[in-house]
Symmetry: C3
Subunit: 352 residues, 3 copies
């Protein structure tokens, strides 16, 4: 395992991640990916430590991924699921977190429907002066850092399996398609992609795009973005108020796909339809669903990502999803375990 210095105590957002931090995560995950290819896919690193999965919002996929990561590091795991919990008895979220703290939890993996809950728990832990780490496993429409890091690991290991690192994405074009406005996955990915020097093209129907950049991306992005060629700025649908030369908004799919190296489609929440933000699923698929035909606009070796679970035939055609030539969807899930092992390891190994 790399013994790079790691000073971050909580992982709540990628907004202020440094290049060194990204690279440490990627290299640590690569070491664990190697462990996972062995017959005995387990290391004793976190033996005796407790990882509590505090999932106030239900999730099978992410919870299983974190649980398996923790078990493969030999940690003990506790699962809290809001449905069967004392939350129904009126206890506050911070009190629940403090109960798990008092039981001896070392790392809390927190998911909540509302933005800011993991930050609030982390702030409370710091105020109490305890060593517990908080890892944001998705908070409202805010961030989902472990998802963006596994996406980053998936595409950088594709480029250089032996040495995945942030700079490999410099100059690459990533198209992110779908419900950008409500997506914590998009938001976390934008931070890592901007930091890498990639060019990020967001495409969605106007109702699923932020009206102004400022609503969506803070000033900091501007400061952190690098100079890149503005190759698609002149195309139709590109907003003129982009705060960074690396980030583009499109009301149409085509300019985003044009020469893209990677295409990330986002899950479409069916609730958006009820809220009249969208016409029919069929029309959505026709306009923004990714198919093999539409990929012809991209680079020849373009790859497609999706955070899952997928609505087949909506965000992406069923055929394309299963095509190993283009789809990285299965790789993303596999990367998820290695990346989450890396995050738990980096947070946990510093504890006395």
């Amino acid at each position: 395992m790399p013994t790079a210095t790691w000073n971050r105590h909580h992982i709540l957002s990628l907004a202020d991640f440094t290049t060194t931090e990204y690279d440490t995560v990627l290299q640590t995950a690569a070491s664990f990916q190697e462990v996972l290819s062995r017959r005995t896919k387990k290391v004793p690193t976190l033996q005796g430590q407790v990882v509590a999965n505090l999932f106030f919002e239900p999730s099978t996929r992410t919870r299983s991924s974190f649980e398996l990561a923790a078990k493969r590091l030999s940690a003990d795991t506790l699962n809290f699921a809001a449905a069967t919990s004392s939350m129904t008895k009126g206890e506050t979220i911070l009190d629940t977190a403090k109960t798990y703290l008092a039981m001896g939890t070392d790392i809390m993996v927190v998911r909540h429907r509302e933005a800011g809950v993991p930050n609030a728990i982390a702030a409370e832990m710091d105020r109490l002066g305890v060593k517990v780490s908080v890892l944001n496993a998705g908070d409202g429409q805010h961030e989902h850092p472990s998802q963006a890091l596994l996406d980053l690991f998936t595409i950088t290991t594709l480029i250089d399996p032996a040495s995945p690192r942030l700079e490999l994405l410099k100059g690459k074009k990533m198209a992110i398609i779908g419900d950008i406005l409500h997506s914590r996955v998009a938001r976390s990915n934008i931070w890592s992609l901007i930091a890498s020097g990639a060019e990020v093209h967001l495409a969605a129907p106007p109702t699923l795009l932020p009206k102004l950049f400022a609503e969506f991306i803070s000033e900091e992005v501007v400061g952190r973005s690098q100079e890149v060629t503005e190759r698609s700025r002149s195309e139709s649908g590109v907003r003129s108020n982009s705060p960074t030369p690396q980030l583009f908004l499109h009301w149409q799919l085509e300019p985003a796909l044009q020469n893209a190296d990677f295409v990330m489609t986002l899950r479409l929440q069916k609730e958006r339809m009820t809220a009249h933000l969208l016409p029919s699923l069929r029309e959505y698929h026709q306009l923004f669903g990714i198919t093999r035909t539409k990929l012809q606009l991209c680079q020849p070796n373009v790859k497609v990502l999706h955070p899952g679970p997928v609505n087949r035939g909506v965000e992406i055609s069923s055929e394309l999803m299963d095509d190993p030539e283009f789809s990285l969807i299965q790789s993303q899930v596999t990367s998820g375990v290695a990346v989450r092992m890396a995050l738990l390891y980096l947070l946990g190994s510093g504890k006395a």
Copy 2:
């Protein structure tokens, strides 16, 4: 542990199990039964492997049995329960299975309300060329192989504890009583009993029996059955269209119980009443419920089985259920852990 050659990659059905396979399972389970009598009931056999319990249909009993079996082999376990899962988010069953595959699952234990789901998952895994094994833990009204194998282990270890094997049942009479038509337990047991050379008598009200043998038992049974004495064919209620000299259908209880060595009662789903397939529970108990008095028709040392959970006073009298002289119900549960350890071991130990 026996190191018999084992080539079966999935356990989906007992329809094509060979005598060697049955005997390998029985002998392996016997070794684990011995492990379970030690103070430390654990072996490191599957350390670092992942067993995922994909229970699309809820079940505490079977899930706990598989979970404990996996833990006693030192495997890591992941539990998926449909109720709290992303299934509600519209992901397909195959996509859920592929997600667990991508996380690094080695063995999937699958239960589903609909027949054929474990087979479909296994077919998909094979199509993908991956080494993951699928174990059917009950699919609709189709099969429940681990239940039939634990029943087989329970009765063969009773006859010869040192060396349980299929041939011990040759010529024995097994009565299976109750909702045959809808029972995956009955169906899997018929395969193993026919293969052993036992005589199988099925008894139920006409509405809970298949109308024609062909609806229920495929042609293959005929081919695989052996010649046995047709001692109860002439009795009342015996259907004349039996495809095999080992299998008999009865509309009444008595001819099935006559001289039986083993009686297996099946759980009565209360829903059958709503569907007007049955009169009252009381009348059902009077006609088909097993009691000590009714057992007098059987062999003197007859034993009673039930897959559980039991409706006391419906399928079986409360008194008989608790009578250790006749009831094997607790032994079945104990056998369940040993047999499931054997199945996980046989599927898992071949993996690199």
Copy 3:
């Protein structure tokens, strides 16, 4: 670990606990508290043993505490939750317990809405002549022994961290405030406090207090109580029919708080309001809610306990709950893991 002789096979109630038993639990918990301060908070004591959490009534907090205690002793754990269980299929509670017995469970941790369920399961296990231990994790309004033992551990380690023991509470005054009538926590605490020689003052609105001592406290308490100074008997609201000089009932808060060394507030079940046993939450807080101001009646170094989860601003002011000078609430949770490790260890280490 202390190797004191321990002969109790089940832990169902504290009614007949001896001083030696209390002290053995306290000393064993102290040893585990020390283990929990190490980097690797795990011991191999119960490796290969199975602890089944049979929670017929849902609980996250207590279940997590027992689960973590079991894992830190290296036991395998099985979780049964009534909601997703075959209970809905009509199986009896005893049959569920016998199923877990047959699977090889060594210790059953049982919680149920109705009083007496853990006792019934224990009686059945004894009748069957098996070695399984039953631990009551809360039964109806009857008892919650592990909660009272962790409360005892919390306050005795405060007085003498090196050697917590029952006699340390002799002559101390404990006020228990709130829904005494329906509280299993109060009931179990009364046993341990009376045994220690402490003075116990119960205060609540009349509708939440037992009408007669005899309804609530059996004759045995009288026999077991010691002589103590009856310092508050003359105060307003004290019932005259107290069966023991150590136990007092009050309709008002003040005499209970007067010079108290410890104040235990109980959780207020909101259902009591629906049943018209209480006016508003606001009025309840005004009359019986504990605040820093009200604590001025107590000893200067008074400490406050609460079994959790807390309704902030009802039983206790939010400010007081978070004040480390007074609140032991977090310590109680931490003690819970150590005490439950002790209980599982004492029950489990005797097994062959």
